[in-house]
Symmetry: C2
Subunit: 114 residues, 2 copies
DNA sequence: CAGATAGTGAAGTCATTGCTTCACTGATGG
DNA sequence: CCATCAGTGAAGCAATGACTTCACTATCTG
């Protein structure tokens, strides 16, 4: 029984992913990481928040596969990660099918209405 | 011209969208709406929450263009909306480009100072 | 008309979140 | 060594979020 969803994320995973992206600071971190790897301090500086705060955000981003980090010496280097992104796209693709179907059928009705 | 919305969302809009999708109840509402329009009560029943709660979620979903509602008589009929969905895909496309670029060219460069 | 139905608005509760400070560990370099 | 520098863990705090209940306004229907 393949009860596991191949549609991508289970509920909890989708929660984590969307909630992670729902925070502007976290998206700013990802944007910065998209330009290249960075240390925690390198992220904290421009953002105007503490190292601790960045570290916490990093935890969330790693938790849903949007970023990965590894520590060399006393410096933690953070990079962007594909996995979470792929899951996100997967969720969207899985849902777009049914949504679009419905939207298509609905478009006319709504347009006709005054 | 050139699209009224570039990368789509400004920060605040992305916030609303991702946060809206970050809630399981809201996603459940959307799933149900994907199967066809429904009244507020029709949504509340299966979800096991009050009409008020659904009404609040609906406000959020409308606020970011993921759903639309109209009231006929005393019944509010809710439908899924394309706009928010398109914005979501737009955001993803816009960001996937740079992310993929970085992920593809992933070297072991050290973090750069900004 | 009375009475049920469908939904809204305004609080209020309880948990979560984003951030901070403080105390601390480990590298690193003079 | 000793003084920093980069980061972490644990509390704590203010703000937000997801619900609820209660009171209330329409809107049907018998």
């Amino acid at each position: 029984m393949m009860g596991a969803r191949m549609t991508g994320l289970g509920g909890a995973e989708a929660d984590r992913l969307f909630q992670a992206l729902g925070d502007p600071t976290r998206r700013a971190i990802l944007d910065r990481l998209a330009a290249g790897p960075s240390s925690v301090s390198g992220l904290a500086g421009p953002l105007g928040i503490t190292l601790t705060a960045v570290s916490q955000h990093l935890g969330v981003l790693e938790g849903c596969g949007l970023a990965s980090t590894r520590k060399a010496g006393r410096v933690r280097t953070c990079s962007i990660e594909a996995a979470g992104f792929d899951r996100l796209q997967g969720w969207i693709d899985a849902h777009r099918a049914s949504w679009d179907r419905r939207l298509d059928a609905l478009g006319d009705l709504l347009a006709e209405e005054d």
